[in-house]
């Protein structure tokens, strides 16, 4: 229990229960079996973007990827356009993931090779990508995605949306295992905790971060595929607002903005909390404003609480040492 990250998990689980109770009190429709499926419908897209953001933040630098939403919009359009031009849809999706990776690589070159601060570099690509998505389409969505493809995000298996089963959960598990059980994972934490120490002990810090920015682009591509299946159309503004929302989810989940601290499980819990709030207020027909206010307060208070806990732990360690 003294481990701050464990405390974080307890805190987040408590918040999730609280959000659920609030939902049940606010709306008689909330405590129904169908709510779960409805709620989970919204989770995967924001969830995978939040995980991408968590990875980029974890490796330090400080790292942030403001272009995830714009990358997602652009990849979705590319897939839909390729399909429209006669490329088989699954091949187009695979190509979409590659394009996502390449868009991520542009960030990686800016941040890891040219050493532009990540906030500036990814802000620039955010403008460029979201602008391209709007300009190339004239703001109009590209439709014509066949019905069979809708099964991914609209279908249900055991009452739970298919994309939870085949994208969100597997990705969360893979990333969790990568971070907690593999050498790459410990290198990521090392790079985020103390860049110089990690470098001196042989971690190729910048190469690692380069890979994570590319991975962030690929994951944004996954998010694009899920949205494509959900709406059966590629919208140029599909990822609008996702850049800040994904940062919110990562930070709320306990990822430290300067790197080195954080877990995938925290991000998953944070997405569930944000979505539960959203759905509960929606069902109770309460202004979305309260949801925004709640997220804002949660975000600030959770980081303040972290700092306070950290101070206490440090003080305790100092007492123990003296």
């Amino acid at each position: 229990m003294n481990d701050p990250l464990t405390q974080r998990m307890v805190f987040l689980t408590g918040l999730l229960v609280l959000a659920g109770v609030a939902g049940a009190l606010l709306s008689p429709h909330f405590l129904q079996g169908s709510t779960v499926g409805y709620l989970l419908q919204y989770v995967p897209v924001l969830g995978v973007l939040g995980m991408a953001q968590t990875l980029v933040m974890l490796s330090g630098g400080p790292g942030i990827d403001l272009s995830v939403g714009a990358t997602m919009s652009l990849v979705g359009l590319a897939i839909a356009a390729m399909f429209g031009a006669g490329v088989p849809l699954l091949l187009a999706c695979a190509a979409g993931l590659v394009i996502g990776g390449l868009l991520g690589a542009v960030n990686a070159v800016l941040v890891c090779v040219l050493k532009v601060p990540s906030l500036m570099g990814t802000l620039a690509t955010f403008f460029a990508y979201s602008g391209l998505a709007l300009a190339l389409t004239g703001g109009a969505p590209i439709g014509g995605i066949p019905d069979w493809f809708a099964g991914l995000a609209q279908g249900r298996f055991l009452g739970i949306p298919v994309h939870m089963w085949v994208v969100f959960v597997p990705l969360a598990v893979v990333l969790h295992v990568m971070l907690s059980r593999t050498r790459i994972g410990s290198h990521i934490y090392a790079a985020g905790n103390d860049e110089r120490a990690a470098f001196l002990s042989g971690v190729k810090v910048w190469r690692l971060r380069f890979g994570l920015y590319c991975l962030s682009g690929v994951i944004a591509g996954l998010a694009a595929i899920m949205t494509l299946s959900w709406f059966q159309a590629a919208r140029p503004d599909a990822g609008e607002g996702m850049e800040l929302l994904s940062v919110t989810v990562a930070v709320l989940g306990g990822a430290h903005i300067f790197g080195g601290i954080g877990r995938i499980s925290g991000t998953v819990l944070a997405v569930l909390i944000v979505t539960t709030l959203q759905v509960a207020l929606q069902l109770a027909n309460i202004s979305q404003a309260w949801q925004l206010a709640a997220i804002g307060v949660l975000l600030i208070c959770s980081v303040m609480a972290d700092n306070a806990v950290g101070d206490r732990l440090r003080a305790a360690a100092r007492r123990a040492a003296s």
Partner: protein
């Protein structure tokens, strides 16, 4: 401890003197060239672009962003950032709108707008300084809160038909020149004096270069931070006053683009997110670049949707050039 401290300090010194000087001068020249190319392209495609009327329009459209950017430059030089400025502009504007609806005179309405902005900015500063929440996280949180306040106060309906008693501030003329020019001149003159000619400005730069060292030499870091964010808030409040004066309405989605546009203009102008480095003149040119692009694209018949592509493209070019320059000099 001392080795890291001194190396950090010398690092900061290098950033502040050796690297920044040549780049900053180069940056303003570079921006001037970019602006020149932009003007040449637009002027060759549309004879209306360089007309007095159109230039006045560009200026009028630039005033609110320019005012916000002066504050943003100071906050970024301080080593901070504020993504909630759009929310501050929105809350101030909606309060101004409501105050007008209660038939309050300008003498009351304007101070309400300015005070609201300064108070919200000070709140950002207090959270950042006192609870050590990183600025981007703290202002991300307050942005959500400010937008929530906007929604709750405005209730989803535009406030329109507001009085035009203040319109002269943006739309009027003074000595034959558009009055917006004087507003921008006054704000940037004031900001420059505060930043470069007062001890307060030196403290801001010192904190931006090396916060820890600044604290060690006795600078009251927390207080200076709160003041800088409050100043940005005050400017955002002023931008809200100017916005209402110009358009005489308050939309539901007011302020959505201001924060990112302001950060983009400031970075274009040569400021570094890491702090310590920045140029008010450069920022102003960044603002002009953004607003000229918005205006010119429409005039030459290109969809205004390309605007963000142009801004993003230029940002990338500028950042890459900067990086190569830094690499060469170091």
């Amino acid at each position: 401890m001392w080795t890291t401290l001194t190396s950090e300090a010398s690092d900061a010194r290098n950033r502040a003197s050796v690297i920044s000087r040549p780049i900053r001068i180069g940056r303003e020249v570079l921006l001037l060239i970019a602006l020149g190319v932009l003007v040449a392209i637009f002027a060759s495609q549309s004879e209306f672009f360089l007309s007095e009327r159109n230039l006045t329009t560009i200026l009028r459209n630039s005033v609110d962003l320019a005012v916000v950017c002066a504050g943003m430059t100071i906050v970024i030089i301080l080593g901070g950032i504020d993504v909630s400025v759009g929310g501050i502009v929105a809350v101030s504007a909606v309060l101004i709108g409501r105050a007008y609806q209660y038939d309050m005179p300008d003498m009351v309405v304007v101070p309400i707008g300015l005070a609201a902005g300064a108070a919200l900015g000070a709140m950002n500063g207090a959270i950042i300084a006192k609870s050590r929440v990183p600025p981007i996280v703290a202002t991300l949180g307050t942005m959500y809160i400010f937008i929530a306040v906007l929604f709750l106060v405005i209730g989803g309906v535009w406030i329109s038909g507001l009085p035009n008693t203040l319109s002269f501030l943006v739309l009027g003329e003074l000595f034959g020149l558009p009055s917006g020019l004087f507003v921008i001149g006054a704000i940037y003159g004031l900001s420059w004096l505060m930043l470069r000619r007062t001890p307060w400005g030196q403290r801001v730069v010192a904190i931006g270069c090396d916060e820890h060292a600044a604290r060690l030499v006795g600078i009251r870091v927390d207080r200076t931070k709160i003041q800088a964010y409050a100043l940005l808030g005050l400017f955002a409040g002023l931008a809200a006053v100017l916005y209402v004066a110009r358009l005489r309405n308050v939309e539901v989605n007011i302020g959505t683009n201001i924060a990112l546009e302001a950060i983009a203009a400031t970075i274009l102008g040569g400021a570094n997110i890491r702090g310590g480095i920045g140029s008010l003149l450069g920022t102003l040119m960044g603002v002009l670049f953004i607003k000229m692009t918005q205006n010119g694209l429409v005039l030459i018949g290109v969809s205004s949707l390309w605007e963000t592509v142009v801004i993003g493209g230029l940002l990338i070019v500028v950042l890459v050039l900067d990086a190569l320059e830094t690499r060469r000099t170091s």
